[in-house]
């Protein structure tokens, strides 16, 4: 009998710890497939965040470091400066990257650190139980915005890609989604480009992946995919904000 589907060599045998319906698992798989297909697994050092993906060091089948909350881009900078011929990526959520780690991500991007950042935006703090994130939508109910996020009081959600797009050190910048198979395919293409950008030493690369959190959104997995499409994408438009000229030339 032919094997038609197998675990990616980029993932370990460890069972993922994510909730049913959460799209972290899909994104892990995409990153792992890219590492495998680009033959990067044995030269890659990944950096796990604090948040739901804190145990990503158990799941990715490559050397891994676990960083303090928000500090993954600084940790990745240290690794990449020591090992410039290796591949270094961070995997961070929205609280980690866009709240407590905003300084680290902005400056790593500004320096044009040749690292790849996988940024999971699910508009909420997952691990700690559903608190308001910097990316929580206006009106969205969380455990710390129980009547809905009020931009008058706590400001508007942050669009990370748009924020970073003005920085010259950024070579590749894209926002993708995981709400249906077509978009999962596009997400994989973006993640692959983000690693290729690093391999070509073209600069900093970040892929923002719109993701779901059924548990803390209080929705079923299917409703969550719909909510992502209907509520998140209008505020967080899917786009490639920046890409290296060589990549553009190939694609055009």
């Amino acid at each position: 009998m032919n094997k038609v589907f197998a675990r990616s060599a980029g993932l370990t045998e460890t069972a993922l710890s994510y909730c049913p319906g959460c799209t972290h698992g899909i994104v892990h798989r995409l990153v792992a497939e890219c590492l495998e297909e680009l033959s990067l697994r044995e030269k890659t050092i990944g950096v796990a965040p604090v948040g739901c993906a804190v145990t990503a060091y158990k799941f990715f089948n490559c050397d891994m470091q676990q960083a303090a909350h928000g500090r993954a881009p600084a940790v990745a900078t240290g690794i990449k400066r020591v090992l410039p011929d290796r591949t270094v990526f961070t995997y961070q959520g929205d609280g980690d990257l866009a709240s407590i780690g905003m300084a680290e991500i902005v400056h790593a991007a500004a320096r044009g650190e040749k690292i790849t950042v996988i940024f999971i935006n699910n508009a909420i703090y997952g691990m700690t139980g559903g608190q308001m994130a910097p990316t929580t939508l206006a009106g969205q109910i969380t455990t710390t915005s129980p009547t809905g996020r009020d931009p008058e009081k706590v400001g508007h959600p942050i669009r990370v890609c748009e924020l970073l797009s003005s920085l010259q050190g950024v070579a590749f910048l894209a926002r993708v989604s995981t709400h249906d198979p077509k978009h999962v395919g596009l997400a994989k293409a973006a993640i692959k480009k983000a690693f290729q950008t690093q391999e070509a030493k073209q600069g900093f690369a970040l892929v923002e992946v719109l993701s779901t959190c059924p548990t803390n959104w209080g929705l079923s997995p299917i409703e969550s995919l719909k909510w992502l499409e209907d509520k998140m994408i209008p505020y967080y438009p899917l786009a490639t904000f920046k890409q290296p000229e060589e990549v553009t030339a190939v694609g055009s």
Partner: protein, 357 residues
């Protein structure tokens, strides 16, 4: 042929680190340690090393984390308020057991404090400082020569025990110039770090991590750390004694204060006072047994430090009530003079002599 030069303490520390094989420096400007990053910024490129000015103290220490865990000989430096910012990183470095060097050129506190020298970060350096049960090895230089020599010792210890090493210095040692003999280039040599994350080519993956979500996991991490701290405490205590054999009074001091005490004690000796000097070179592990031995021999103690009294607690724990331990604690802002320490020595010598009689 060893190289005799005249240098500022901060620059001597930087050159000492480079000669000890440090090739990665991540830091952030803060007075009175700016000469270290400035020196590194021009010196590192000459030895194919990397100097990077981070966006914050927090980022600098996390760059140290990443670089150290990738196997590099790496350091950062700062001064008191900046070291406070690094404390989260120090806790993670301890939990993940990453060898590295951190220099603290202490200034006055609390808060923004002042630029004058201080020894009020003793608790922070020796008791952990960040969250969790951990220690760093803490080295205390008292000359520009030792500012240049201690990075080498620090990297040896850091690699031997997979631990962070702090050089606890101060604004005077950082800013003053003295003649010194520079250490030889290339000591200590590189060591194998099979645990480092360098890409899992042809071997199982390596993980650098301080998380132990399951109770037993965290317990095992802490058992391992405490076992290591026990080995360090047994093997790496360093101190210096001067004239303690016949002394009625032993003055315990480290760093800049030990230099002032040395002059004050010389004045007292010249007058026939039986005073000795005890200088810890490692503040953690602390030379408790040596001090306990002196207490056993009936000697009284005077602790002199530029703080409200921090090291004195460790001296009292070591002496354990056997003999009196007095404190001369000069509060941050003003540097103690030889004359005032001389006066306190004289006063305490009189008490000690009475006690001995």
């Amino acid at each position: 042929m060893s190289e005799r030069v005249m240098m500022k303490g901060n620059e001597a520390l930087a050159e000492g680190a480079i000669r000890a094989g440090c090739r990665f420096f991540f830091g952030y400007p803060i007075t009175p340690q700016n000469e270290i990053p400035e020196y590194m910024s021009r010196r590192m490129p000459q030895v194919e090393g990397t100097f990077l000015q981070a966006e914050s103290e927090v980022s600098a220490i996390n760059m140290v984390y990443g670089a150290g865990a990738a196997g590099a000989r790496v350091m950062t430096s700062s001064s008191s308020p900046g070291i406070s910012l690094k404390m989260e990183g120090l806790s993670y470095l301890a939990g993940s057991e990453i060898p590295c060097l951190i220099a603290n050129i202490q200034r006055g506190g609390p808060g923004l404090g002042g630029l004058a020298p201080s020894q009020s970060d003793y608790f922070q350096a020796t008791k952990g400082g960040g969250h969790g049960d951990y220690h760093a090895i803490v080295l205390a230089p008292n000359s520009v020569q030792e500012m240049a020599d201690m990075p080498g010792l620090g990297f040896v210890l850091a690699d031997r025990y997979r631990t962070q090493v702090i050089i606890l210095s101060d604004a005077i040692l950082g800013q003053m110039m003295e003649p010194l003999t520079l250490p030889e280039m290339g000591f200590p040599g590189p060591v194998e770090k099979p645990w480092a994350t360098t890409g899992a080519a042809g071997r199982p993956k390596n993980i650098i991590n301080s998380l132990g979500l399951l109770g037993e996991e965290l317990y095992a991490i802490n058992l391992r750390l405490q076992e290591k701290y026990g080995r360090i405490s047994a093997a790496e205590v360093r101190w210096e004694e001067e004239n303690t054999a016949d002394a009625d009074l032993v003055v315990v001091a480290y760093g800049t204060t030990s230099r002032i005490v040395k002059s004050a004690a010389a004045l007292a000796r010249a007058e026939g006072q039986r005073v000795g000097l005890f200088r810890p070179l490692t503040l953690w592990p602390f030379p408790s047994e040596a001090l306990a031995g002196l207490a056993e021999a009936g000697k009284h103690f005077l602790v002199a430090e530029m703080s409200a009294g921090q090291m004195v607690e460790d001296v009292r724990l070591a002496v354990n009530g056997k003999t009196p331990v007095a404190l001369f604690g000069k509060l941050n802002g003003i540097i103690p003079t030889v004359r005032e320490i001389y006066a306190v020595i004289k006063e305490n010598c009189a008490v000690a002599k009475d006690g001995a009689a």
